[in-house]
């Protein structure tokens, strides 16, 4: 599929007020509001456009599978440091649109932090270029980062440029036994020290910590922190990144983002703690208002991350916005998609 074909499809939909459902691999169909509209399959718009290892960027078309990009990066010892989930064939477009990051997020940054530029087809079918391929660029509003996490509601991300980073020389994983409160306390204490912690994960009384960096630094930190060193822990972090780990299998899963120091919420069903305490997963039939109130009181927000359709049709996936902010969202939506044809309702039911 060519850029011209994407443009033609969006223009036709704009003219006919036909809602479009943008789809890469469909690996995150479970995420966000219920799917609506005619499928615009973008998986055919694929391929790496430009990769310059010494300039630290990769540009690829939206339908390019993340695995293909990562394979190219690996040949030069580089990686997508935000570790986005690959799920089943996840594409670059979907990765940027959903903005979901993996275990390395607290050390390296989120997907939005790595977006350098996008080629966007807006809701009128105009091709717009924002950002570019250089690390520093403050000319104009940072629309490329606004697009990250917008779930396809502002435009078709036809192409994206991401910053890439070298893979760490050495990595090791430590395991500790502790309760959730203690894990949060320790993670914040370690976080305030210059330690090469690149990921953390707590589940059912056990805490795993990944150290990454220069070999000598990783060894020194491992000696300092104690715990049990796991010889081959690669699978743990892959399972967490891909959400294949037992902590993620429940049919109803809530994603709660909080200040890392927030005490344990008065909500049952805590499955896992990631990101140094700042991301917590809850499972089970939890009252939406209750978990949202608890998250909000702690300074964060709760997302109904995965649920059967019977629940998704009753509960907003994302925490509702205050009226002034919602009004601003609607005005921005109108800027990019005046006819409201792109992924309607995927982010908020109101647009």
């Amino acid at each position: 599929m060519t850029l011209d074909e994407i443009v033609a499809a969006v223009r036709a939909a704009h003219a006919g007020h036909t809602p479009l459902r943008l789809r890469g691999a469909g690996s995150k169909d479970f995420y966000g509001g219920l799917l609506a509209g005619e499928v615009l399959d973008l998986s055919g718009h694929r391929g790496i456009v430009d990769y310059e290892p010494t300039e630290l960027y990769v540009t690829a078309k939206c339908g390019t599978p993340l695995t293909e990009i990562e394979a190219a990066l690996a040949e030069h010892g580089q990686m997508l440091a935000c570790e986005p989930p690959r799920f089943a064939g996840a594409t670059l477009g979907g990765c940027v649109a959903a903005g979901l990051s993996g275990p390395r997020r607290m050390q390296a940054g989120a997907v939005r932090d790595f977006v350098l530029g996008v080629k966007l087809v807006d809701g009128r079918g105009q091709v717009l270029n924002f950002g570019g391929q250089v690390m520093k660029n403050v000319a104009g509003y940072d629309v490329s980062r606004l697009i990250a996490g917008s779930l396809g509601t502002l435009g078709v991300i036809a192409e994206a440029t991401l910053k890439v980073l070298p893979k760490p020389v050495a990595e090791t994983t430590l395991e500790f036994a502790c309760a959730a409160d203690e894990a949060v306390r320790r993670l914040n204490d370690w976080g305030a020290q210059p330690l090469p912690v690149s990921a953390s994960f707590w589940h059912e009384g056990r805490l795993w910590l990944r150290l990454s960096g220069a070999a000598a630094a990783v060894d020194a930190a491992a000696r300092k922190l104690g715990g049990k060193a796991l010889a081959d822990a690669g699978c743990i972090w892959e399972d967490i990144r891909e959400q294949r780990h037992a902590a993620f299998v429940a049919p109803v899963l809530w994603r709660v983002a909080l200040p890392s120091t927030a005490p344990t919420l008065a909500v049952d069903g805590l499955q896992a703690i990631e990101w140094g305490g700042a991301l917590r997963w809850y499972a089970g039939e939890i009252d939406a208002a209750a978990i949202r109130a608890a998250a909000s009181a702690a300074g964060g927000h709760a997302t109904l991350y995965r649920a059967p359709e019977s629940l998704r049709c009753r509960v907003d996936p994302f925490t509702p916005l205050p009226p002034a902010l919602l009004a601003l969202h609607r005005r921005l939506k109108k800027v990019f998609d005046p006819a409201g044809i792109l992924n309607p309702g995927r982010l908020y039911a109101e647009f």
Partner: protein, 496 residues
């Protein structure tokens, strides 16, 4: 300099009415209206562009900010927010028919929290003051623009400021978690949060770097990071700038992300050395400063690798700082580059383009040719790690025609930056200075989108009007004088 005074949407504010209304909402010590009081506000760090405002408001609390904005919105009066006025693109230059809204009195650090590694500060707090307040906890605020002793967090948010450590630690957008922002209509928005993300669109990314066009920030939550145990810097000299540029690429290719990676060319070191006595190699065509930070083990390992790479790239001399005093001395020259150049020329004009690192040698050769063309000298300092070049064009404001030549010289560098695949500004912002070059970097549909985004926040276009995003009319005028992008602006590029 183009005439700046034009009324917004045809409204001619009546100064007496405006002052009377402002007097109703601000205590007398929070409002300046006399010419001699307004004079210090007529420009920011880009002193070539000046304008007198109708009044300067110095609110002391958020309620007053809301009242000033509501009043200006009702009266159709432009508002230019201002921090310390250290910006280099004229972003805080007043509007002739508007008010300056100074956040200077919002100077309190509200909270520093060791455990969550965050600080909550008011926008008038100086950048360095945040790191000083966090120091007792072993933490600091990473973005360190060279003006950090004076520039404020509010200004940093407006400009998305960088610094010498941003390749490894990121820009302002990577280090701010939350802002509280007042719209021109006086509405308060909480954007971002203390959590790693917030529901809805990433408005934080949109507002950071928006140059005061979308709202006025009244509070900022920043991320603090643990201070590395050790930092050491390698200083390498090269006989050839292309060789130094290749060495930068080789360091990255070796999988190293240094904490800082800076280059200075010969005119820059020549200006700096007598002033700072940093020990720079004055015979070298270029010197590189490459900093490594982390645990002592990490630094030792990385420095060894950096040395090997630089030696392999033909560095003629290598020195590694052996103490904190020596490290700071190596950096002192780089950090003093602007004032040092200021000592050898009556005036200088600092540019801020970014280019892909691999095009550096081409850019420097082109700048050398422009020195001849315009008859002005230029020293180059370069955030080599992230491709951000600061040519310092030397001129004499008192000499007729010199400023115009410097301006044209600068414009040519910026337009070449775009042609080489880069950007007209890496960290200083567009402001009023680079408004014409925006027409080169962006085409009409993107500019229209920017204007529509602006209207979603400020439909009367009262916040910092005529800055950052050029009108299409302006671009059409500029386009008549210049060949537009895509039409081979630099047909003789290959000869460099």
């Amino acid at each position: 300099m183009p005439p700046m005074s034009r009324s917004v949407a045809g409204i001619q504010p009546d100064r007496a009415t405006l002052v009377r209304r402002l007097k109703n909402i601000l205590p007398v010590h929070c409002l300046l209206v006399e010419d001699e009081d307004l004079r210090p506000y007529e420009c920011d760090g880009l002193t070539a562009y000046r304008e007198m405002p109708l009044a300067v408001c110095l609110p002391e609390n958020e309620g007053q900010v809301v009242d000033v904005l509501r009043t200006c919105h009702q009266l159709g009066v432009p508002v230019v927010a201002r921090g310390a006025g250290t910006g280099l693109s004229g972003g805080a230059m007043p509007h002739a028919e508007g008010v300056v809204l100074s956040l200077a009195r919002f100077n309190r650090i509200l909270k520093v929290d060791r455990d969550s590694r965050t600080a909550v500060v008011q926008p008038g707090v100086r950048n360095l003051a945040v790191s000083e307040a966090a120091a007792p906890f072993g933490l600091y605020y990473a973005p360190d623009p060279s003006s950090q002793i004076a520039c404020t967090l509010g200004g940093n948010v407006a400009e998305n400021s960088g610094g010498v450590h941003c390749l490894k630690y990121g820009l302002t957008v990577h280090n701010v978690l939350r802002i509280r922002m007042v719209s021109i209509e006086g509405e308060i928005f909480e954007i971002g949060s203390g959590a790693p993300d917030a529901p809805g669109y990433d408005l934080l990314a949109l507002c950071i770097g928006s140059e005061g066009l979308l709202g006025v920030v009244t509070e900022v939550t920043v991320k603090l990071v643990p201070k590395p145990e050790l930092a050491q810097v390698v200083m390498a000299s090269f006989d050839d700038v292309a060789q130094a540029g290749d060495a930068v690429a080789a360091i990255i290719a070796a999988g190293i992300i240094p904490a800082g990676l800076e280059m200075m060319d010969k005119p820059a070191t020549a200006a700096v050395e007598p002033f700072v006595k940093a020990g720079y190699d004055l015979d070298a065509a270029a010197i590189l400063l490459c900093e490594s930070d982390g645990t002592p083990e990490e630094v030792a390992e990385e420095i060894a690798r950096v040395r090997a790479v630089l030696t392999g790239c033909g560095a003629r001399d290598l020195r590694v700082s052996q103490s904190e005093v020596e490290r700071l001395r190596f950096w002192a020259g780089r950090k003093a580059a602007f004032p040092a150049v200021g000592r050898i020329t009556p005036d200088y004009y600092c540019m801020d383009g970014t280019i892909p690192r691999k095009r550096l040698a081409e850019m420097l050769a082109a700048i050398a040719a422009m020195e001849t063309k315009y008859g002005l000298r230029c020293a180059n300092v370069f955030h080599a790690g992230d491709g951000n070049l600061h040519p310092l064009i030397m001129y004499d404001m008192s000499k007729p025609g010199d400023w115009e030549k410097a301006e044209a010289f600068g414009a040519e560098i910026l337009e070449l930056s775009v042609a080489l695949g880069g950007s007209i500004t890496g960290e200083h912002g567009v402001g009023i200075e680079k408004i014409n070059q925006m027409c080169v970097q962006y085409a009409t549909p993107e500019l229209e989108t920017f204007h529509a985004v602006k209207a979603a926040f400020d439909d009367k276009r009262l916040l910092n009007p005529e800055k950052a995003i050029p009108s299409l009319h302006r671009c059409a005028e500029y386009g008549r004088m210049h060949v537009h992008r895509g039409e081979l602006k630099f047909p003789d590029l290959e000869r460099f």
